[in-house]
């Protein structure tokens, strides 16, 4: 009985930590973008997690964990189970913890909207993503969907949370097109530097700590204190990611670029999210380091492909989310996979290619679903709402003013009327 209560307590602490990651995302997005949009970014994030929470309560949980078929769950809508289980988590604790993951995925998706989408686009997409995109992928892997049956390994959500969010961000980025001033006529790209690197660094730290809840509480209990091992792997992955990204960007450009280093830490965290419960610490270092290396390559790739990704959501959560998921196909140990009745060992532990194949299948299917459905939703919204993007004038004065009527930093930016008077 005491253990059960401790299990519940541990997961609810994890819930708090994951919710605090939203604060990390606010600082990350605001710090990585221009000051004229800072208030908007902070406000819309809080507002959309409100929407996401209500939708998850109404239908999200039911679509993921309700009784249904291989594709989707279809019961337990408008959740309100007050029961207490003698074993495992109490339903409400489980529910609220799961809700946090849906909110993180939604916030990641909105990274692709940054600095140019209308507030109304956020509102509508928050509803549709939380109902139709995230729950389906989560059902496939974490519910009783078809990928779960294949033994797909995703300990805390490299695919379900990060890749799904990033695929929606990719669809949004493609439809919204680059921000004004990002690309020159000759195709070269300008650096629209974020207004506060300290915000961005503090965001990484906040997310990093939050990730201990994200991964650590995904043990769903305190049994054998396995969460300690998971958090150790998480720490090593993040550390290796930061170091690898910094060394790589310095070697290639001659500059120890701060945003790349910060993205390296996040990449390490995203990469280790799928594998933190399946691999040994040395493998966590390698998985995180590779995450740090590919995040920089990916940032350069998207930039050259003229896909404007203001806060690097596509690279950090998308590209690295793919790597993180596939990594267990190489590094999962026998004891922590088949030994724990969750898939098979990876290629380097004598498991052959089977688990690797399942992981790749999971990434391709989940990524494709999230991208295609998000793209269709956003295209329809684009038509129905008369465009997802604010006007050129609104984008130039900033979304703080155009969407909310006041600047996040009123002392530092003259009011548009005053600007005109000058």
């Amino acid at each position: 009985m005491e253990t059960v209560l401790m299990d519940n307590l541990w997961v609810i602490i994890g819930t708090f930590l994951v919710l605090l990651m939203i604060g990390g995302f606010i600082l990350l997005e605001a710090g990585s973008t221009r000051m004229k949009n800072a208030g908007h970014i902070a406000g819309k994030t809080i507002f959309t997690i409100g929407i996401g929470s209500l939708v998850f309560w109404a239908v999200g949980w039911g679509f993921i964990y309700g009784e249904g078929n291989w594709f989707i769950g279809l019961s337990d809508f408008f959740y309100g189970d007050t029961s207490f289980n003698e074993e495992g988590l109490s339903p409400a604790v489980d529910f609220i913890f799961q809700m946090m993951f849906a909110l993180i995925a939604l916030t990641i998706a909105f990274g692709g909207f940054a600095e140019r989408a209308k507030l109304s686009a956020y509102v509508v997409f928050a509803v549709l993503f939380s109902a139709l995109v995230y729950p389906v992928v989560a059902h496939w892997i974490w519910g009783s969907g078809w990928l779960a049956e294949h033994g797909k390994q995703d300990f805390a959500g490299s695919t379900v949370v990060h890749l799904t969010g990033a695929m929606a961000a990719l669809a949004a980025t493609i439809i919204l097109k680059p921000r004004i001033g990002k690309y020159n006529k000759d195709g070269s790209s300008n650096e629209l530097a974020g207004h506060n690197q300290v915000y961005t660094a503090l965001a990484v730290l906040l997310l990093w700590v939050g990730w201990f809840g994200f991964n650590g509480a995904s043990t769903f209990g305190v049994s054998e204190a396995f969460f300690g091992y998971v958090i150790l792997n998480t720490q090593l992955g993040a550390a290796a990611g930061a170091v690898a990204a910094m060394l790589l960007v310095w070697a290639i450009t001659g500059k120890a670029d701060v945003p790349t280093t910060l993205n390296g830490a996040l990449a390490g965290l995203v990469a280790i999210t799928a594998s933190c419960g399946f691999v040994e610490p040395w493998a966590a270092v390698i998985i995180g380091a590779i995450g740090g290396l590919i995040v920089y390559a990916s940032m350069r790739f998207f930039d050259r492909a003229r896909i404007d990704d203001p806060i690097f959501a596509l690279s950090v959560h998308g590209t690295v989310g793919v790597w993180g998921t596939i990594s267990t196909g190489f590094f999962a140990t026998e004891a922590l996979s088949s030994g724990a009745d969750w898939g098979l060992p990876g290629l380097f532990y004598g498991g052959g290619f089977e688990q690797l194949g399942v992981q790749i299948l999971g990434v391709v299917a989940s990524g494709a679903y999230a991208f295609v459905v998000s793209f269709i939703i956003l295209k329809v919204m684009d038509k129905v709402m008369g465009g997802l993007r604010v006007s050129e004038e609104e984008e130039i004065i900033g979304l703080d003013m155009s969407e909310h009527g006041s600047y996040g930093y009123p002392e530092n930016i003259p009011h548009p009327d005053e600007q005109q008077a000058k």
Binding site: N184, D186, S188, S189, N190, E191, W250, A251, I252, T253, G254
Partner: protein, 320 residues
């Protein structure tokens, strides 16, 4: 000859200049004609020049390192009371306008004879230079180094020499200032990465281009300026400074050859530039494998020369 005529003359002949030396001679001719024209104009409006004076160049023009396009860096020194300041600033303003029409962009940092900081009487110039050195702040030493790279284009050379002589005496009496002057230009932007690759711009319209001015040219220019300061040599063009220093420092022979070849290299790749900003950059894709090797060698040797200069100054000049 009016400014428009000089501009036409420039357009007709600038592409005929076959090498770096010829190009810089041509720039000198263009600027002398423009300044003479400005003097005529001001004479008509304000009367005759009220005192002996010198119009001097600074920056790349003065060091004879100009490319096909160049901006303006110049000043005036006059031998007379301060009441003549207004006349010479007026002349400076006219020169700036004239040079702009002829094709020389205004200096963003306002190092121009139209500004009171760069047009002064001999006495005020001496005082200003001493103040800069006394203050020894980042900005004041930048001003000083800019001033020290000056060359009279038109007028009385001895006026400028007088001020430079004051500089030498100051340094002789305050040798520690040399360390500050070294630090002031000690930051060298890295041009070659750990894998031996060139490091071009990463974003903006110059993506994939190498800033040859800051990464290759400046280490040579700055090192040689420091050595002439320490050895009280008046010459300004970097090549002439090399020649004057070589007798004392035989190791400079190798670097002089490299520097002259770097000027030729820069001339070759920037001679068709369409605007001023473009002359400082070379797109990597324009360079052959051999060119890249050559450019890396200039960068490596430039940094090496700066290091050796630092050590030389440490040993000889800052401890008189």
């Amino acid at each position: 000859m009016g400014y428009e005529d000089i501009k036409k003359w420039r357009e007709q002949h600038i592409h005929e200049q076959m090498n770096h030396e010829q190009l810089n001679n041509f720039h000198d001719e263009l600027m002398i004609k423009t300044v003479q024209s400005a003097m005529e104009k001001v004479k008509e409006e304000q009367g005759k020049v009220p005192a002996p004076f010198a119009f001097f160049l600074m920056g790349s023009a003065s060091r004879r390192e100009q490319s096909i396009w160049s901006d303006q860096d110049h000043g005036i020194i006059f031998d007379g009371p301060n009441q003549h300041q207004a006349y010479f600033q007026k002349l400076g303003t006219e020169i700036v306008d004239g040079l702009e029409i002829v094709g020389y962009e205004r200096c963003e940092g306002k190092v121009m004879a139209s500004e009171s900081r760069w047009t002064k009487s001999v006495d005020d110039w001496k005082q200003q230079v001493i103040n800069w050195l006394d203050e020894e702040s980042w900005q004041s030493l930048r001003h000083f180094s800019t001033f020290f790279d000056s060359r009279v284009l038109l007028g009385e050379e001895k006026l400028l020499k007088n001020v430079k002589q004051v500089t030498f005496s100051y340094i002789q009496n305050h040798p520690k200032i040399m360390n500050r002057l070294v630090d002031n230009v000690g930051f060298i932007r890295k041009g070659v990465g750990v894998f031996g690759q060139l490091l071009p711009e990463q974003s903006g319209t110059r993506t994939g281009q190498i800033n040859i001015k800051t990464m290759a040219l400046f280490p040579f220019v700055n090192a040689i300026r420091l050595l002439v300061l320490c050895n009280q040599i008046m010459k300004t063009p970097t090549v002439e400074r090399f020649a004057a220093l070589k007798t004392k420092y035989s190791f400079l022979t190798e670097y002089q050859i490299l520097f002259e070849s770097l000027l030729a290299f820069k001339f070759q790749f920037t001679k068709d530039a369409a605007e001023y900003e473009e002359v400082h950059y070379i797109p990597l894709k324009k360079l052959s494998k051999k060119d890249k090797q050559e450019l890396k060698e200039y960068m490596k040797k430039g940094a090496e020369l700066f290091e050796r200069t630092k050590n030389t100054i440490e040993k000889e000049c800052s401890k008189w």
